[in-house]
């Protein structure tokens, strides 16, 4: 990986590495503190495991590594190890005076990145930074892998996403997947300052990557910052309802929320991003989305509705963001249904991001008022370019009316993946990312292609309106969950995106009857929806109650 500049969080890494030491033995605690200080690390000591956990929870991203004894009176060291790994995703080193193989093995099994025997020598402590570094490298690698996956589809966009996006992506990567609640507090100000106007879709190009890496380096591994930025970004996007901030949407693509019908729209207004995967599609990043979709599908709600819980909350009101166009609401979608969809909690959609389910739940209650948006959304007749060949059944949401080949290709690529998912909601694609994030709702039509070629495709605008209030929380959730490869959520806003949303709707009916699928196909159903809402020309088949209220 091109990590030439990928160094450490601090310029003089590993100096200043923030270590949390947990040991009930006061003598050892003092010795370790002294030793670590001599290594130029920043040390915090704790003699109770519970206290350590609360310290870690209250100061997320406040520590780089944890060293803990195995035998503690209030909590088993292995248990603490698990908690830390799950919630904070920090490297944990175990220590003990007992070096029995079985114990060491247990430690490794529980996820310890090292096991030290007491008495501990200072030289052993000097090198603990490698665990921190290694973790980060791997995270970036995951990111890169992901990125390359989509790289071909990514369109070049101004990428507002730029640094923020990168940061976010990194954040996703670095943030613990399990991270539950990222701080919601964020200062908009900071965020606003930093974000500039939205750019078009982000193209994950080489230089974007470099930018990203640079940004990461600058920011360091201060994921807290990233998360914050991300949040700010999201909220900003929300504010910019008028602007198409698709990038935000993009970000959400990763959102677990199984948004229904994600469309990515350049409209920032509709930040809903259905399904992270969809976002991906939008940005022709397709691949990302697909990935998300995959994950989502995995999480799939039994109902087959893409729960857009997470996103829903975060989703910003979709209305308003729709830039021009063709915002085609999902015809059959009734706001209610959508809500339902959104209500589903999205289990971590992203396979690679381990977003705790709990988080998803939080995001539930996305309120997606599609109906509301419908009005706002201009009826984009022409778009539907269902450029994606039905056969491909790849829905890519892209602002541009015409989906470039590569986009389609990208979608296609991902397609197979979805097939693998037995998600309940096939709509993973369509998952509307209510998450506010800022998914600018593309005026374009959302085209959902489903796997079945025969199915009509209808594009609908997703006027998912998510409660803005939820945005913040959603954002945080999203952040945590997604590894968004932030493809530029900002990028999404790019003008090119405004056109159609191609929604890849993977008809993943794994084990789920195609509920209502036929309905979707039935134009008659669409009659429910105001005509203007969708282009009669294309109907996207929404799988499993995506959007369909």
């Amino acid at each position: 990986m091109d990590n030439g500049c990928f160094s450490s969080p601090r310029r003089d890494f590993p100096n200043g590495l923030r270590v949390l030491v947990v040991d009930d033995d006061p003598t050892w605690l003092k010795i370790l503190e002294k030793m670590l200080k001599k290594c130029n690390y920043e040390v915090t000591t704790c003699c109770l495991a519970r206290h350590a956990l609360s310290l870690l929870r209250e100061r997320k991203d406040g520590y780089d590594i944890v060293i803990s004894d195995v035998n503690m009176p209030d909590m088993d060291g292995f248990k603490l190890l698990e908690h830390v790994g799950l919630e904070m995703d920090l490297p944990v080193i175990m220590m003990s005076v007992d070096g029995e193989t079985s114990r060491v093995m247990k430690g490794v099994q529980h996820g310890a990145c090292d096991y030290l025997l007491k008495p501990i020598r200072m030289k052993e402590l000097r090198n603990i930074w490698q665990h921190v570094f290694r973790k980060r490298i791997h995270e970036v690698r995951d990111f890169e892998n992901f990125e390359s996956f989509e790289s071909m589809h990514l369109m070049r966009n101004g990428s507002e996403l730029s640094e923020e996006g990168n940061l976010f992506a990194l954040e996703d990567m670095t943030s613990t997947k399990k991270r539950k609640d990222l701080d919601n507090k964020h200062d908009d100000k900071e965020f606003l300052d930093s974000s500039s106007s939205k750019k078009a879709r982000v193209v994950w190009s080489v230089d974007l990557h470099q930018k990203f890496v640079k940004a990461v380096n600058q920011i360091g591994f201060d994921s807290k910052f990233l998360v914050k930025k991300y949040r700010l970004y999201l909220s900003r996007l929300q504010k910019d309802s008028e602007q198409k901030s698709s990038p935000s949407g993009m970000k959400h693509s990763d959102l677990p929320s199984k948004d229904v019908g994600n469309f990515n729209f350049p409209n920032s207004a509709n930040k809903q991003q259905n399904d992270a995967s969809i976002d991906r599609c939008n940005y022709s990043e397709g691949t990302l989305q697909h990935q998300n979709m995959e994950t989502k599908s995995r999480e799939g709600n039994p109902k087959g509705i893409v729960p857009h819980s997470t996103t829903a909350e975060k989703a910003r009101p979709l209305t308003g963001n729709i830039t021009d166009a063709n915002i085609q609401p999902f015809a059959p979608l009734e706001s209610e249904r959508k809500r339902a969809a959104f209500d589903c909690t999205m289990s971590t959609p992203y396979s690679w991001t381990e977003i705790p389910k709990t988080q998803l739940k939080k995001e539930q209650k996305p309120v997606v008022h599609l109906e509301d948006n419908f009005n706002l959304l201009p009826f984009h007749g022409k778009k539907h370019n269902i450029q994606v060949d039905q056969s491909q059944s790849i829905a890519s949401i892209s602002s541009t009316p015409s989906i470039s080949e590569k986009d389609v290709a990208a979608c296609i690529e991902t397609k197979p993946r979805f097939a693998d998912y037995k998600k309940d909601y096939t709509s993973s694609v369509s998952s509307i990312r209510s998450s506010v994030d800022t998914f600018p709702f593309q005026p374009g039509s959302l085209i959902m292609m489903n796997d079945q070629p025969s199915q009509p495709i209808s594009t609908t605008n997703f006027g998912l309106k998510t409660q803005s209030s939820n945005n913040l929380s959603c954002i945080s959730d999203l952040e945590s969950y997604q590894r968004n490869l932030l493809f530029g959520g900002e990028a999404a806003s790019a003008a090119p995106l405004d056109e159609d949303l191609y929604f890849y709707w993977h008809n993943m009916n794994f084990g789920q009857p195609n509920i209502g699928m036929p309905e979707y196909y039935d134009p008659g159903l669409l009659t429910e929806v105001p005509n203007h809402l969708y282009d009669s020309a294309d109907y996207l088949v929404i799988d499993q109650g995506l959007f369909i209220a």
Partner: protein
């Protein structure tokens, strides 16, 4: 002159502690950690050890008085005691702790009790010597850099 004598005496005391196996490498590590920021680091650590180990010893005595002997509990306390002793490099005490744990594992109550008595003796002896050592050290004035026993 006196100071030099004290220093020499100090060095000799330390040397003998090592030679007789009461202390191990860990003690040297502690001395190496001592610096201007913590000029009495070693003594502070040893003092902490006394406090912790005394508490554990009473707990051990209580446990050993019970019949039947609760081996699990004994083993748990011994584990802590062993860990604590390893912090200052109390070599003999540590070795006895390992032995007691082994007796716990095999359910040998008699072995546990006997070993404990032995361990307690070692502990008391070491403590005495260290107390003398530090007392002399205070008299001798600030110590120079830790010197390894020959």
């Amino acid at each position: 002159m006196d100071r030099n004598n004290s220093r020499r005496q100090l060095a000799a005391m330390k040397q003998s502690l090592f030679d007789q196996g009461h202390l191990d490498e860990q003690f040297i590590q502690l001395e190496e950690l001592q610096d201007d920021a913590n000029p009495n680091f070693v003594e502070e650590i040893v003092t902490l050890y006394y406090r912790d180990s005394s508490r554990l010893i009473s707990s051990l005595e209580q446990t050993l008085e019970r019949n039947p002997l609760d081996f699990n509990k004994l083993d748990t306390i011994m584990h802590q005691f062993k860990g604590s002793s390893s912090s200052i490099g109390a070599k003999k005490v540590k070795a006895e702790s390992t032995l007691i744990r082994e007796y716990c594992r095999t359910g040998n109550a008699e072995g546990c009790r006997k070993s404990f008595q032995q361990m307690k003796k070692e502990y008391v002896a070491l403590r005495k010597r260290l107390e003398n050592y530090f007392q002399l050290a205070r008299q001798a004035g600030p110590m120079d850099r830790a010197s390894r026993p020959k």
